[in-house]
């Protein structure tokens, strides 16, 4: 039999037929998502939702103020001041990150920050107390424990009482220089490759991409050092970055994020930890934090989004 051009490598959202021999077949991820009730989803706050507008369309980002309150506040101020409008995506480093901000090399040539602060504290870790941390039972090499907090992949250290966001695909962080407190949210990056977990606790993560990451991850790679573009022509212009709260309701992308603190989500993780469809011959018996899908959908009562 020839290898077909069809779904020869099964992965969501593809079909996942159940083995007929199983008397109580486990549900597939698609079936689990289809069975979700309204209470299994949450709607990100408009104040925490950023729209990065490119010629190719919109990228939707949810901020994580529980982990980076100062950065989230500054990013809101930058967005309200239209700071990024007319700036550009300046870097695409294969198997690592895409990054945007002010391409000016000289500080004197940089765009003014308006109402935003030039300097913020580092927000690498926070106290674990007060977070609704939903742990993953699977071991992790980078942290004593990993799991999810309101839909964000995270880690914590039970003895130290600290928690932090994890550098998984699609996570958004604030670029910095050598000093730990040298990020202010003007330079943002998105993870577009193998999870660079070595960055955890070394740089401030501020959120994650909910929709449209392919508008970033498929950008041509920069050929300069660290994947920076070598000429202005290679950069992708940013039309605007706006808070959803600043956009007319009709122009919003009405999205919902699957809650990660429910029995349904645990079932979804198990469906991915041990694939039970007929394609898989050897279920892994394990899942890494950054391999867990975090479903996003258009809000059921919304108009179709632009994606």
């Amino acid at each position: 039999m020839l290898a077909s051009t069809g779904p020869t490598l099964a992965q969501a959202p593809g079909p996942q037929p159940q083995p007929t021999s199983n008397p109580v077949p486990a549900r597939s991820m698609d079936e689990i998502i289809a069975a979700a009730t309204p209470g299994d989803w949450r709607t990100p706050a408009h104040e925490d939702t950023l729209y990065l507008e490119l010629e190719s369309g919109r990228v939707v980002i949810e901020l994580a103020p529980d982990f980076a309150p100062e950065h989230a506040a500054n990013i809101r101020a930058l967005a309200r001041g239209h700071y990024w409008d007319g700036l550009s995506i300046n870097r695409s480093h294969d198997n690592f990150v895409v990054q945007w901000g002010d391409p000016a090399e000289e500080e004197a040539d940089r765009k003014p920050l308006g109402e935003a602060k030039a300097k913020l504290p580092a927000e690498f870790v926070r106290q674990a107390a007060g977070l609704d941390f939903h742990p993953l039972p699977d071991p992790d090499g980078w942290a004593p424990q990993v799991g999810f907090v309101d839909g964000f992949p995270a880690a914590r250290h039970p003895d130290a009482g600290t928690a932090w966001l994890a550098h998984c695909y699609g996570m958004v962080g604030a670029g910095r220089d050598m000093a730990a407190d040298s990020s202010n949210g003007t330079e943002l990056y998105v993870v577009t490759g193998q999870s660079p977990r070595q960055l955890d606790r070394n740089i401030t993560l501020v959120g994650r991409v909910l929709q449209g990451i392919e508008r970033l991850s498929a950008l041509p790679r920069g050929t300069g050092p660290l994947g920076f573009y070598e000429s202005a022509e290679e950069r992708t212009p940013i039309r605007a970055i706006r808070l959803a709260s600043e956009v007319p309701e009709a122009e919003r992308s009405a999205l919902q994020v699957m809650r990660t603190d429910t029995a349904l989500f645990d079932e979804l993780v198990e469906a991915r930890r041990n694939r039970r469809d007929a394609w898989y011959k050897t279920p892994a018996g394990h899942i890494d934090l950054c391999n867990v899908p975090l479903p996003v959908r258009a809000a059921p009562d919304s108009e179709a989004t632009d994606d």
Copy 2:
């Protein structure tokens, strides 16, 4: 201080300054690579080297016949018969794989295989005995032990005596249908996202990309199910796939791969496990198999390659 547009997120091959307070500074990855002796490198065999020729340039792949001898032999036969010439890249699934082969949906419309076999055995695992397995001391959630075999990321099960290649970024596999033995090497995929280790022991890996992966990983994502392109126009034509042994010497990409069974390589892994440059504030103390870089260089006595 503003976050600069310079190397705000340090990663090789960027500069990695040493902390001046360290009396015996550990070498950075760049310094370790620069200090490598000729014996730290090996030259892939021409019979195991594939050139995937696209309009954008060449992608160089090294086959892994130690793990997939039947597939490697069939892929050689397919390349000698110019099987892929004029076929196309048919799929780019964000954060997963790029895949190529015959886009024809009907078996009757498919390109004949020439001297190659239509059917092969599954080569998911092999006996660990006989492999020069260089273990990584770091724990792994997907396998009892992970490490490297001649430059390929791999795993093994000491009790079962089995070993297999691991689905890291850049690994190349043979697409299959439902049956374990339904791959024959005509459909090949490359991992272009977070390592899908759940595929380990479920599909035959045949090698890895040594150079030019950005010609695949930055392709526009397909908008059909599983990232397949929905129209012929979206597909990227394959000019040719050739074995290096079939190409005139002057047209070869003379590459060397760093050996993974040396003290130098162990030092490199440690330099990535615990980053000691001033940018990092909290070394991870751990590295995942798929985060270990596997250096490739132009052979020192060769002409410049096309990359």
